[in-house]
Each structure stands twice: as C-alpha cells, then as structure tokens.
Symmetry: C2
Subunit: 247 residues, 2 copies
C-alpha cells in the first residue's frame, strides 16, 4: 500500500504540533503558537488502515478530526441501503460535524491514513472561544459546499466516460502534492492510484465494469497507459481534457 507522507505516520501529538506536517495548511493555521499547543493537548493521533471506518452514518457526532496523511471517503446511504460516496477527503482537510447532533454520513479510510482526532464537545468549546478558527472553518466549509455542488452536477449530468476522465485529471493534480496540502501546480503525467477500480466506481456512482470499459477505451485511443494495475500514465493530457467536455 502506498502511504502518503509516510515519514510522519507514527508522530505523536505529545511531541507538540509545531512540527506537524499540516500545521500551516489545516484550519490550525488560524491559530498562533500557544493556541495550537492548547488545541494539540485536546487531540490525539490515530492511524487507520485502508478500509477502516472512522465515523458511522447516523451515529451521534462524537469526534472531529484533521487529516494528516492518506485519503478517506464520505458515504451517504439512502433509506433502502444503496450507497453513494458524497465526498473525498485529502490531507489537511477537516472531518466531522461540529455543533451538530449526528453524523449524516460515514467516514472511511480508502488508503492507510493518519488523522488528528478531537472530541467534538472539546472542539466545539475551543472553537467558540477562537473566532479566527471558526472563520477558517467557515471558509473551508463554504469551499467544500462549492466543491460538493460541482460534484453533484457531475454525478447527475456527465456520461461514464466523462466522469472517468474528470476523476483522473482530478487525481493527477491532487495526488503528487498531497504531502504539501492543496497546492496544484503543473500536473504529473504519471501517478499511482492509492486504491483499485471498485473505489473509483464507487466514487463516480458507476459499476466497476463500466469504469473498466471506459479505461480500456481511453487506452485504445492512446490517451492513457497502464504500466502496472495501479499506475496510470496520461499520454495525451489535452485529449483527456477534451473528453471531459462531452464526446
């Protein structure tokens, strides 16, 4: 399993937050040194293996967290059991539902991951006393809402092929820089997927088979290459981008 920024995987919070990899990219950036230390005392590091759940849908909202390394998915299930991934969580992202009674979706690791966990009530109180933190959280929540709405339009209006293309471009831009936060400069034409086809299907609201067919179609067209199962090389970036906007 490919671990993102693995050199920090065993770091403990008792070491303090000042050398935290995401210190300046998470919501903690809103706090000064002393405040971060105070908040740090309320939290603890937790490691998750790929597939391990952190929060269950419908449970009382007991914890919130910052993602330090790895990726997680948010899943919402309809009343009759069908599920849909409603969000992907990257390092520096904030997880959980402050100020709320229950979690409306589950949170599960899709690669090995490390998170910095707080009890929700502790966090709520701390946040209320630190408007700058709440402001940062508000900004992030607004951004997340924008992203979620865009994704929603994608899910309901894009064809399978477009979805796959968009997913790959997204991944290619996000993955190489995961350890440094949300920076997305020049794209890497080759990258390793931290998970398999079923997860892609899950995220895009497609079946595994359909994802496969689209991937092989893109390979046949010379747009993609697969050196190994988990690695993807984007041979024709521009072509892939044009697939994005209808066929």
């Amino acid at each position: 399993m490919w671990v993102l920024t693995e050199h920090l995987a065993v770091e403990s919070l008792t070491d303090g937050c000042s050398d935290c990899a995401i210190r300046t990219h998470s919501i903690c950036a809103a706090l000064d040194h002393a405040e971060v230390e105070t908040l740090g005392k309320l939290g603890r590091r937790r490691s998750l293996k790929a597939g391990e759940p952190l929060i269950w849908e419908g449970d009382e909202s007991l914890l919130v967290a910052n993602v330090v390394t790895g990726m997680l998915k948010l899943v919402s299930s309809t009343a009759d059991g069908r599920e849909q991934v409603v969000g992907m969580v990257y390092p520096t992202d904030f997880i959980g539902r402050p100020f709320g009674a229950t979690s409306h979706h589950s949170v599960t690791a899709i690669s090995d991951a490390t998170v910095c966990v707080f009890s929700r009530s502790d966090f709520d109180i701390f946040a209320s006393e630190h408007p700058a933190l709440e402001h940062k959280l508000l900004e992030r929540t607004l951004e997340e809402l924008d992203r979620t709405r865009k994704w929603m339009a994608l899910l309901s209006r894009k064809s399978a092929k477009e979805k796959v293309a968009i997913f790959l471009l997204d991944m290619a831009q996000r993955l190489p820089n995961l350890n440094t936060g949300s920076v997305r400069e020049g794209a890497q034409p080759k990258f390793e997927l931290p998970f398999g086809r079923p997860v892609i299907a899950d995220v895009l609201g497609l079946s595994t088979e359909t994802v496969c067919r689209q991937l092989t179609a893109l390979k046949r067209e010379g747009i993609l290459e697969f050196p190994t199962r988990r690695s993807i090389r984007i041979a024709q970036w521009n072509m892939l981008e044009s697939v994005t906007r209808a066929e």
Copy 2:
C-alpha cells in the same frame, strides 16, 4: 402566481428590521437589536419575479442575501453547457458566497420572491466584526452541506419514481410552513406547487416527460390526485412514503 407571505412583499428596509418576517429565523437572529439595525442599513430589499436571475455562475461574487419570501434555485453548469440544480433556497435561507472571489453557481427565482441584499464586501467586514453572526452562518453552512450531500446520494442512486415521491413529500412538508421558516410539523395532504413540471424535472435531474410519466403512474395507483395542474393531493401518504424506498 402564488406569492409566499405576500403581505410583506413591498416592505422596505428603511422601515427597519425589527418587524422583518424572518428577523428571528434568519442568520440575523444571532444579532441584538442595535446590531440588526446596523446591518439593516447596509442592505436593501429586492423583489424578483419568477424566473429572474439574481446571481450568475462565474461572476465575481458581489452580493449576498437573505431570502424573505419565495423560492430560488441554485444551478451549476458543466463545461459543456448541461445544467443541474444543486440546491433549493427557501425563506430565511442565506444566499451567496461570502469570503470568496467568484460564485460557482447561478441563483434564480423559481417563484416570485423577495430578498434582502447586501454587498459582499460590506457583509464580509460586518461578519468579521461579529463572531456570533459568523458562527450562525457556519452552522447553516454545515447544515446545507449535509443536505446537499444527502441530495447528491438521492440524485445518483434513486430511480425516477423514487425521486418524484421524495420530492413531493419534501414539498408537502416544507410548503405549508414557508412563511414561518423551517418548521415542519404535521404534513398537509394537499398543496399548491409554486412552479410547473419542468422545474421539478430540473431539480430531480430528469426530463419533463419522465416526471409526467411517474406522476400519472402514481395517479393510476391511487396515491396521488391532481384537482388542478398546480395542486397535488396526496391520497395515500403511507403508500407514497413506501415508494420512496424502492419499488
């Protein structure tokens, strides 16, 4: 056209906010009397006719607003022109994108509506000086994010029939109480739609024809009745609820 809480449609902000219909249900509830008056001086009332746009997708984010009466839709378009409704806005809801450069979706009235508009920069500054307001806004944004994610699961996983059923139940619970905010007690079995089939289709990510077919199907099954085009009677509430969870 059916105007929600029409008695306030011409109220002017120069009358002050103290008798505003949504004074205690919007984010303004976080403010005390003096603060509300200060904020009120920054805003102005604006009436919108059904179909009239308030904010264009991609535009610089210049204004934010509270919805006083009526309903609006948020629309996100994909790069190639296809559109999807990504949110419905009810009275007391907050519109717009504070602290952000651009609007990521358009906002358009789907019934006649009244909104209380602020310049985004004015609002940003005022909000920064009033943590209680920001806190309220954060709570609302978190709720909206939860709702949006639920809706996302619905859009990608539910069948046409289920979507229509869910939409009607939602409407039936929200509509009768629109003027009093988000209260949703006992459901009214009959109500008037403030818009036509095309808008329903739009919201559910379906074609008008499909919405029609599902509605007539539900009529044939004795679950619904249509006294007029715009009014809907839910003859079998329980039946409709069970349609909601697969067929």
